[in-house]
């Protein structure tokens, strides 16, 4: 099968590669760029492990083709961490503090989703957090600690937030 050129802004750097059309974004990030923080689980959109931000919104990287992502901006956990993204960083600290991860397989995806949630809703209820993370499977924690961590991150961000006026 022929290959097609795709150019994606990944974590602030423009990358161009020739790819087979069937290469999905998660395999592209891992295989072509070595960004193995994006995990591949079910490959049909159910487990949430491959969730990344594309143009600032969460997507399943297993359900986006690398050729479809051409011209778009993608942020992975590596980029969010390196950029010291304020919300992601608060979440990472809270996830450690609340034991919201064990094996870590689901964590990068959950951090992307929780980052999107706290960007849109800085003070989510526990119910809203549960709804937001309902598209992620975690087989270690039982989710309770993850909800705690997201809530703690929201509380920390609320106290460190610069007053807007």
């Amino acid at each position: 099968m022929r290959t097609i050129s795709t150019t994606i802004l990944v974590n602030g750097t423009s990358v161009t590669r020739q790819v087979e059309p069937r290469t999905h974004l998660a395999d592209f990030l891992r295989g072509e760029l070595g960004l193995t923080g994006t995990h591949v689980g079910c490959e049909h959109g159910v487990c949430g492990a491959c969730t990344v931000l594309m143009d600032g919104a969460t997507v399943r990287a297993c359900l986006v083709l690398a050729v479809q992502a051409s011209g778009r901006e993608v942020q992975t956990i590596e980029g969010l961490s390196a950029a010291k993204h304020k919300i992601t960083q608060a979440l990472q600290e809270a996830f450690c503090a609340r034991n919201a991860l064990q094996c870590g397989f689901c964590t990068p995806g959950l951090l992307a989703t929780a980052t999107e949630l706290l960007t849109q809703d800085p003070t989510p209820s526990r119910e809203a957090i549960r709804e937001a993370i309902s598209g992620h499977y975690c087989r270690c924690t039982g989710y309770h600690a993850i909800v705690d961590a997201v809530q703690q991150a929201a509380a920390v961000l609320a106290t460190t937030e610069e007053p807007t006026r």
Binding site: I4, E20, P21, R22, R60, C62, L65, S134, G135
Partner: protein, 292 residues
């Protein structure tokens, strides 16, 4: 799993997409958000030779009020767009209610309205809403544009009135009137999972009573099902008491539905859940109107 190898081409416009479909004929599939198609391809349940990507045709991503006072929703309107749109909230509250039940945020950020209708999954929410709202489906193909009522569009499991080489470009619905009301509920094992049974309903209320209703069940057969017998009982002018109407409507559901059983739920459980949903949704609709 990984999909089988395929070719890929981006369409710049609707005519370009139609030309590409004509050129590649049966081997081609349209991809928009890809949230169902790519999953099916990763399972190797679908193996197209070439994907025609319509995802970048911006003109298909509009929600507009037409000169005739109808709401036209472009095929590429994403679920997240529907969720955020003030026009949808005001003029098509049924879609606003339903959309939160469609999968999860990451899927809603990519999945499209037209894709959901064309894919015609029997367990999905938006086809049922289109039938309840008596939507008109706009289709473009090699012979030009044609329209099909949503009530004739869904013909089977993943089967629609779309012919080979055609593209769904929009759906049009009437904006909600002051005496009309919508209701939506579903049962699923986990928030965002496919429904075991779901109900989308739209109706008209006069003097506190339903005088017309379109209750459309999904995940109870190959297509969304408009429960005509239950609808007649719910809006029966000869019966005054709402409780009697509802009881008769629940009984009438056995004439409307013949749900399948599967490992998720037996046929009997689906039928029972459909009866429960009917009561809840009708209750919601009446409560909305009386401001309770």
């Amino acid at each position: 799993m990984k999909p089988t190898a395929f070719d890929y081409v981006r369409a710049d416009s609707v005519p370009h997409a139609v030309r590409l479909l004509a050129e590649h004929r049966a081997g081609a599939r349209i991809i928009a958000g890809g949230q169902s198609l790519l999953a099916a391809m990763n399972f190797r349940m679908a193996s197209p030779e070439i994907l025609v990507d319509i995802g970048e045709i911006e003109e298909l991503r509009d929600i507009t009020l037409t000169a005739r006072g109808r709401l036209r929703i472009g095929a590429l309107t994403r679920h997240a767009d529907l969720e955020a749109s003030p026009d949808i909230a005001t003029h098509a509250p049924l879609l606003r209610q339903a959309i939160r039940h469609v999968a999860h945020t990451a899927i809603r950020n990519r999945g499209t309205f037209g894709g959901s209708l064309s894919h015609a999954d029997p367990a999905s929410e938006l086809p049922a809403c289109a039938v309840a709202l008596d939507a008109t489906i706009h289709i473009v193909g090699p012979q030009g544009e044609r329209t099909v009522p949503a009530r004739q569009f869904f013909t089977g499991v993943h089967e629609t009135a779309l012919r080979s080489g055609e593209l769904l470009v929009a759906a049009e619905i009437d904006t909600i009137k002051p005496d009309e009301v919508s209701g939506f509920q579903e049962f699923a094992r986990r928030h965002g999972d496919y429904a075991i049974v779901g109900l989308a309903a739209h109706g008209r209320i006069e003097a506190g009573r339903l005088c017309q209703i379109a209750p459309v069940f999904f995940s109870v057969g190959g297509t969304p099902i408009l429960a005509r017998h239950a609808a007649a009982a719910l809006a029966d002018p000869a019966v005054a008491e709402p409780e009697t109407r509802l009881r008769r409507a629940r009984e009438a559901l056995s004439s409307d539905l013949d749900p399948p059983g599967d490992p998720q739920a037996s046929a009997a459980l689906r039928m029972e859940l459909a009866r429960v949903l009917l009561g809840r949704v009708v209750g919601d609709m009446l409560a909305t109107r009386t401001g309770a």
